[in-house]
């Protein structure tokens, strides 16, 4: 019985926490102008709540990666502010949220084994190899790669490399997972599989996920909120909830609800792209 209620709660993490609670991240009028004069982001305001699975959807060049990097603390904002109302702060007053980042490429160190690649975030925090062993193997088990701890990245397929990259992001048990088109370079079969695995893990651990994609289908399948962005200058043009219950399995891909949301998101995306008619 207890398991059932737990599951019900987990199936809509956003609903439980979004109500009146403080957001995890508050972007307030954030702009980013690069030194070459490109306005990558203009006046972006967005609240991210605990437990949400947000997709940032938009054509390439609309500033999706820039938003993620700013949230991760890589690079400063040109104007506006980013606040972490619920996170701890270090001595200098800087927020210390527990973030992990998954890039479009697996971004593994080719000279290190799978184990050592996953150990890296802990190693940088001073955790010894023996002390980290259990956590690293646990993370590898989550992505189904526990047998490959001693392999080198070059011995793995593209999908397996991406799994290692995800295991590395999970090993620190982050509260916030930032993913920048993590599956864009994979074939469709592998992508669907990793979509499902990612959703299962998210349902289990209840992280907050910000997932960048340019695929309408992927964004609808995964997320409970889609933020559509337009380019030149990069900005938010639409913010729509996807109120379909989790767990979502393969059947969801063929359901009418799914199709309706895809059409809606697709229209929003086309409007965003038509806005500057640059195709």
């Amino acid at each position: 019985m207890t398991i059932d209620t737990a599951k019900a709660d987990l199936s809509s993490p956003a609903a439980t926490s979004a109500v009146a609670s403080k957001p995890l991240i508050a972007l307030k009028g954030v702009s980013k102008v690069f030194s070459n004069g490109t306005t990558a982001l203009q006046n972006m305001t967005m609240d991210v709540h605990q437990g949400e699975f947000i997709s940032l959807l938009g054509p390439s060049g609309c500033g999706k990666s820039t938003v993620l990097r700013i949230i991760a603390g890589l690079g400063d904002v040109s104007s506006g502010a980013i606040e972490w109302p619920t996170s701890g702060h270090d001595a200098t007053g800087k927020a210390t949220p527990e973030i992990s980042f998954v890039f479009q490429e697996p971004t593994l160190m080719p000279w290190a084994t799978v184990f050592n690649n996953v150990w890296l975030p802990l190693r940088l925090k001073g955790v010894s190899k023996t002390a980290a062993r259990e956590d690293v193997l646990g993370a590898l088990e989550m992505v189904g790669l526990e047998k490959f701890a001693d392999a080198y990245p070059r011995e793995l397929s593209g999908g397996m490399k991406m799994r290692v990259s995800i295991a590395r992001a999970l090993v620190t048990r982050p509260k916030l997972l930032l993913m920048d088109e993590p599956f864009a370079a994979l074939d469709e079969i592998t992508r669907f599989k990793l979509n499902n695995d990612l959703l299962h893990l998210w349902e289990k651990f209840g992280w907050t996920v910000i997932f960048v994609t340019h695929s309408v289908f992927e964004s609808v399948y995964l997320s409970n909120r889609i933020v559509v962005m337009a380019a030149r200058p990069g900005r938010v043009v639409n913010d729509m909830p996807v109120d379909a219950a989790y767990p979502r399995e393969e059947e969801f891909r063929t359901s009418t609800v799914y199709n309706d949301y895809c059409r809606k998101a697709s229209n929003a995306l086309h409007q965003a792209m038509g806005a500057n008619d640059h195709l």
Partner: protein, 290 residues
């Protein structure tokens, strides 16, 4: 934070693997391996045979071109002189190489830590490199306290640059996303250097080492030639020159043989080191397999 332990009740479908396990790469077949040894040996035998035949057939006098047999004999007879000279040359070559490695890597690290230091130093490294060593050798011979140290300095100048420029290039060409990742996880400058930039620079450094190894020997020989009679009783190049002056052509050939062999051994050693360090992960050390 402890969600992993506490949430055991929730069932999660483990990611299944449709991808096959990597199996040990098949090594070369036996026949291929034998051929790899037999072909070079057969080629060598052919060339030496041709040489021996030419000397005999055309009655070439030994002060023009000694037969391979005579060269081998001289090598044994003069082994006392030649081996002592070889030792001197080897000592200089390897000392120069060692200092070049330490200095090259050290300076490369310093240069990549600060752009200003790079701007200040790099031009001089280039100037040292592009100036022909024979042109500065006489000056160095005058300034250095001993002839041996002058030769060492010459060999070092030549061997130093490939190590420096290759290592610096390797340190700078680190993947930006990996650098971002290190920054995200709060890596210190030293952690980034030792865990990311250094391993990334390793293949570049090793390519520099292979060039530097050969160059150190060449530069040592060139400097000995430049030293001329000042280097009396010293390295292989001196013995070579001396044999030439005295028309002891068989000994000249023996010394030459030793020099080439030394160069080959150095090349083989540096290639071996490179292969051993890179064989698990770097494309250059992997057999292409489709």
């Amino acid at each position: 934070m402890s969600a992993i332990e506490t949430d055991k009740t929730v069932d999660i479908a483990p990611a299944e693997l449709d991808e096959p396990a990597p199996v040990a790469a098949p090594s070369d077949s036996l026949g291929e391996r034998i051929l790899k040894i037999v072909i070079p040996i057969a080629m060598l035998a052919l060339l030496v045979g041709l040489w021996a035949w030419y000397v005999k057939a055309y009655n070439v006098p030994h002060y023009i071109l000694p037969s391979p047999w005579l060269v081998a004999q001289t090598l044994v007879q003069d082994w006392g002189i030649l081996s002592a000279a070889l030792l001197v040359t080897l000592k200089i070559t390897f000392s120069a190489l060692a200092i070049a490695l330490v200095g090259g890597v050290g300076l490369a690290v310093v240069m990549t830590q600060s752009r200003w230091i790079e701007i200040a130093i790099y031009p001089y490294a280039v100037i040292l490199q592009v100036t022909p060593i024979v042109a500065i050798a006489p000056l160095i011979l005058i300034y250095a306290p001993t002839t041996q140290s002058a030769i060492l300095i010459c060999a070092w100048i030549v061997a130093f640059f490939p190590v420096l420029s290759n290592t610096a290039q390797g340190l700078k060409s680190t993947d930006h996303n990996l650098l971002n990742l290190f920054e995200l996880y709060g890596a210190s400058r030293w952690q980034t250097l030792f865990l990311l930039k250094m391993p990334n620079a390793l293949p570049y450094f090793l390519a520099g080492l292979r060039i530097a190894g050969g160059l150190a020997l060449i530069a040592a020989v060139v400097a000995e030639f430049a030293a001329g009679s000042a280097g009396a009783g010293s390295g292989l190049a001196f013995r070579l020159q001396e044999a030439g002056f005295r028309l002891k052509i068989p000994r000249l050939f023996s010394a030459l043989l030793l020099l080439s062999a030394t160069g080959v051994v150095i090349f083989f050693c540096t290639s071996m080191i490179s292969h051993l360090l890179l064989r698990r992960w770097h494309e250059s050390a992997l057999k292409r397999e489709n």
